[in-house]
Amino acid sequence: MMITQETSSPRVQANRVGLTRSDYRGLPSTLCQGCGHNAIANQIISAMYELDVVPEKVVKFSGIGCSSKSPTYFLSRSFGFNGLHGRMPSLALGALFADMSLKGIGVSGDGDTASIGMGQFKHLVRRNLPMMYIVENNGVYGLTKGQFSATAEKGLSLKRQGINPYMPIDICLEALVANATFVARSFAGDPKQVKEILKAAFSHRGIAVIDIISPCVTFHNQENSLHSYAWGKDHEMPLHDITFVPPREEIYIEDFEEGTVREVELHDGSVIMLKKLDHDYDPTNLFEALRVLEEAKQNNWLITGIIYVNPQAPTIFDAYDLPAEPLNRLTEDRLRPPRESLEHLNQIFGA
């Protein structure tokens, strides 16, 4: 059926579904000025606008934390559910079964994902639920005022927390060993790359884990720390330049010179083109992905880019024999077995 859409002002910026960038906005942010999470929300808005996404076809999820508040700062016209600390994966998984044509966007924090939520995170990854899972990684618990998170580097010293005695968890590595089908890392201070990765991730059919270093300017922005703007800017080593090409623009592929570009075709026919920097990085090679992450770890590099992608892997929905029509629109006549079937059962269980 047709519902009259709220007509957006017919400005030149209207995208292919007739919406302007402001149609993808959310409420004003209540996070700190300069928080990396705000920059990411802005790039989500841009990416969705540029991808011509219909907001009603997106469902937002989050856990608990400053980062997990941000789904209200984008896509006001999408449904969303801000769940429990560390338990967003299960919520999203259950909800997305209701309508397989919907796409999930999850926003989590490093505490939410790598501490309390590690179990659910890894199980979501291994089930390959089609959704974009963004970790806004600042190395601290922002919302509870600056305690160490599980991604904080060993030896880091924070006000009132002392020195972190434990080894950090690398979210990209965790995702990879849990058989993630799309793993990327970016840096909130690099909006262009964040946006391109978001666009590629959103087009991936399967779980797309994006670990975005997102400095907490209030509790954790020391220059010498891995999760600060200054450190990020100095140590960022993009694996490659990313250009994301939705299927309708496929023609541009020819513009790139053979040999300098690695193309990866995603499920919907769109293509990510990765421009080689210092080596011909192949993001479909799992061994390579593990190697560059380990290498970066040992050298204190911040590797950014699309680290791994496997566009062919079956998703959780492929394991179920469900109708294409949304399950949540099925009516009683399709959900309640007929009367005769119960009579038959009564016979089976009868004397």
Partner: protein, 616 residues
Amino acid sequence: MITPQISSPLKEQEARSPIINDFCITVATVNGSGSATSNGILLRALFTMGIPVSGKNIFPSNIQGLPTWYSIRLSRKGYLGRIETDDIIVAMNPATFLQDLNYLVPGGVLFYDDSIKVNIPREDIVTYPMPVKQIVRQADVPANLRDYVANMVYVGVVAQMLNIDLQAVQRALAVHFKGKQKAIDSNWAIIKAAADWAAANLEKRDPYRVEPMPAPANRILIDGNTAGALGAVYGGFQLAAWYPITPASSFAEALGEYAPELRKDPITGKHTFAIIQAEDELAAAGMAIGAGWAGLRAMASTSGPGFSLMAEYLGLAYFAEVPVVIWDIQRVGPSTGLPTRTAQGDLTFAYFLGHGDTQYVILLPGNVNECFEMGWRAFDIAERLQTPVLVLSDLDLGMNMHIGEPFEYPDTPMDRGKVLWEEDLERFLAEHQGQWGRYLDVDGDGIPYRTLPGNTHPRSAYFARGTGHDEFARYSEEPEIWERNLKRIARKMENARTLVPKPVLQTHPGAQIGIIAYGSTDPAIQEARDLLLEKGMAIDFLRLRALPFTEEVAEFLRGHAHVYVVELNRDGQMHQLLTMAYPEYATRLRSVAHVDGLPLTARWVVERIAAMEGLR
């Protein structure tokens, strides 16, 4: 604990009059030896003969090697609760042989595997040795299956000696093996050989036997978990999440067994449900609540430890107003407790579950028919009220086989509650000055209208959350808004009283006192009432089937001088809840509670109430 029977020699066998269809057989075996099949076949054969019968599996938390017992009670009068003594013992486990004998009544019967070389310390019983090994050896069974089919020997011998219809045994085999002829034949061969051996070699010296009875038509024999799962299938469950735990696993497994056939979409032939084995119960609750929020009929099944893990999520579902159904098949806690034994110990936990002020609709099935009915009705209540519905069953009801009426097809259409799809929302907006709010009470019943993800109406979306929110689902920390919302939810929950199943009332003319109980204790209480009546004490009985309490409860309390609240837990949890709900009747309420892991017996109830009444 039963005191050992005193041994005085049996005399005058012939003088004893026959005992027909009114005794208890306990089979003592080793866990993992495959005795479940044999016991199930004996039970079903007796059921097929029209005899009221119940089977209780007393099993250890172990896969192989520890002792296990299966008690079959036959009762002409239809008393199907557990009893504490055995009339007949089938002893297959040398380790418990002597201990088992303590439960055998004087004049009782002992069938035993003749490879058990123990002196039998009792002379007041009838003994029948069974040459199990010999019969199995002669029966031409592959060596690797010998231990397994050995249990079929006692089926044949007991059937022969008690006069159990061998055709009924054969029919039970066919049901058990779902018509698989090879399995039916090989087991039947042993049963037949054993029955023939008994006919030729054993002389009947005891009074126990069975006779077919004209059974009320169309009864069924089923376990409560399968019954509940079938109820959910007919209730149109669309997502079930679970994590393995005894005694709840067989609930989800029954969904997996029956749903694929029964729930094929009539249009596409595809499945209209998903069953997900989660990584734990936190995730199972999360999946079910995510699905419930998105408009699916969603459920999870678990037991105490897993139920504990669901607490935080259920609080979110209560406050964000998400329909979901959770089955708790109770076992004995606290902690891992007695994981394979039964109890009603999760009641107050379920009632108070969650931080802050919460309330839950709790359903209390008391038999397999109620498991089935609550299986579907729980979804109607959950979706109508947009709230979690908790169903508390237990191991005895859930895992043991019970006789029931044929299942009745749901007598009401599905109630999907106040859901607005695109056209509905358009209409709603037209009728309400263009205003819709997810938590806005427009009907005055506290129940708001909800939209579901996938709704393409540009006004349909909202952001659900566990944090403070106003009528339009906007974040709010305003004191008045918080309080207004929480009070509306309380008002919404008041509707539950008109939706939940009413208690079942059984009265006796002139009775001054009453019993209140719930769940699986029903058979023991029925029997106890009759026994107390024989002692001159007439008692009315109110069996609760849900919380919150309905009007009938206050009426019952008003109408009785005092009321015994009988339950299977230490602290008298229902007694506590009743005392809280009806302080004006608190002094009338008397707690009769205990928990030892075993199903309630009528004898215990009678002794306690008689003592408290000062009888005898």
